[in-house]
């Protein structure tokens, strides 16, 4: 990666090394949901992905909390990008991210205490999610605030959707319920291991397999069409 001091303001028109190529806002949002999905493609944030996707409510709440932090930290990093000196940028980014994680943690505890309790230590650990520092450094610090927010929103949506998918599968098979509503009836014997850590790895593996399968089918179709 070409990291260069943003240093004192240069008179040349804004040229930021390593900046993402110009794109429409819709493309900035869609990228995080699809081609650069944080969980299913970039493999970022694996720790919360494994840990809190045992029920749909937990997975969704973790996704939304991460989305909140991604959008807010992206906005602030982008707004202050010209004032944050190159030498202390990582410290400053982490400070911004940690602030919003703390805010999200406190707001969740005040509004949805049961979910906050269920997420436990994984809520403050969002700080350590590579996705956040990654987007701050690779995207938000190099573009304007509107694009930074769009990217944060897209990445957050991608994270939320992936976590919701994984946790829905795990809760349905591991407890026979969705959002605590019994769906499979009393005759269904829950596959308890699905809500335990091995179930997380298995579900993610199967989801990736499914994704690879879809990509392969598309590729073959494109080849046949060509």
């Amino acid at each position: 990666m070409t990291a260069v001091a943003s240093g004192p303001p240069v008179t040349a028109p804004e040229f930021v090394p390593g900046a993402p190529p110009p794109a429409s806002l819709a493309a900035d949002v869609w990228r995080g949901i699809s081609r650069e999905n944080p969980v299913l493609v970039q493999f970022l944030g694996m720790c919360p992905t494994m840990a809190v996707t045992n029920t749909l409510a937990n997975g969704f709440a973790m996704g939304i909390a991460t989305l909140f932090v991604l959008v807010c930290s992206g906005l602030l990093v982008s707004l202050f990008r010209k004032y944050i000196a190159h030498e202390v940028r990582i410290t400053a980014f982490i400070l911004i991210i940690a602030t919003f994680v703390t805010l999200a943690d406190m707001i969740l505890a005040a509004t949805f205490p049961t979910i906050s309790k269920a997420l436990g230590p994984f809520m403050p650990l969002i700080v350590a999610n590579c996705l956040l520092l990654g987007r701050a450094e690779a995207f938000a610090a190099k573009v304007g605030p509107v694009r930074a927010v769009a990217d944060g929103f897209g990445m957050g949506m991608g994270f939320t959707l992936s976590l919701s998918l994984l946790s829905a599968i795990r809760e349905l098979l591991g407890r026979g319920s969705l959002l605590n509503h019994d769906l499979l009836g009393p005759r269904f014997e829950p596959w308890v291991f699905m809500v335990m850590p091995p179930g997380g790895f298995l579900t993610l593996g199967i989801a990736l397999l499914g994704l690879a399968f879809i990509i392969e089918i598309r590729r073959r179709r494109a080849r046949r069409a060509a």
Partner: protein
Amino acid sequence: MTATHHHGAPAAMPPSQSTPAWKLLLTLALAGALSGWLVVSVYKVTLPAVQKYAAEQVNAAVHEVLKAPARWDTLYLVGNTLTRTAPAKPDLADIPKAFVGFDASGRRLGVAVTAAEPGFQELLTLMIGFEPPTGTVIGFKVLDQKETPGLGDKIERDTAFGGQFAGRMAPLTGVKGRAGKPPSEVQTITGATISSRAVIRIINNAIAKWRPLLEAWDREGAR
């Protein structure tokens, strides 16, 4: 520096003039102050809701484990004795408390206390209602647990398990595979034996700890 002035080439050269230290310090100091201010503001805004929820949880638990008392007194454990006056400590939440519940006619129903001990993998916090003179359990409620979802967490959701405790006398013993017999047996949950035994152990220890304290309180009250 180098003769080639390639526009997009990876510029590996060190920044010719680095930012002065005071500027770096100022940036971080300002950022730190701003984030500190934000955190404190939101903390102040959310604190009442958090405290209200905690108080509601305790009230609901006392209500449940003492089978709907009309009112209750709070006793604080200071040193080795119980007192009715709250000690002047900054955080009352950390002080062990006993909630003495009465029915509408003023008859004492029992006492509720909280206790936390390791469960299967993490601290398991219970509120326990019991009758101090006999050590008879009235009920218990799980306040906080991180037991295995689907297995150990049944101690919180399995009503057949929770329902057995009422009327059993401490020290309790757990039995497997058959119904627990009075006066002090309870049946553990299949697949959650360790968590069930943790519940039994916590209840036994809590009653053993609080009974003498409450008896001493009764003697002094009678005096």
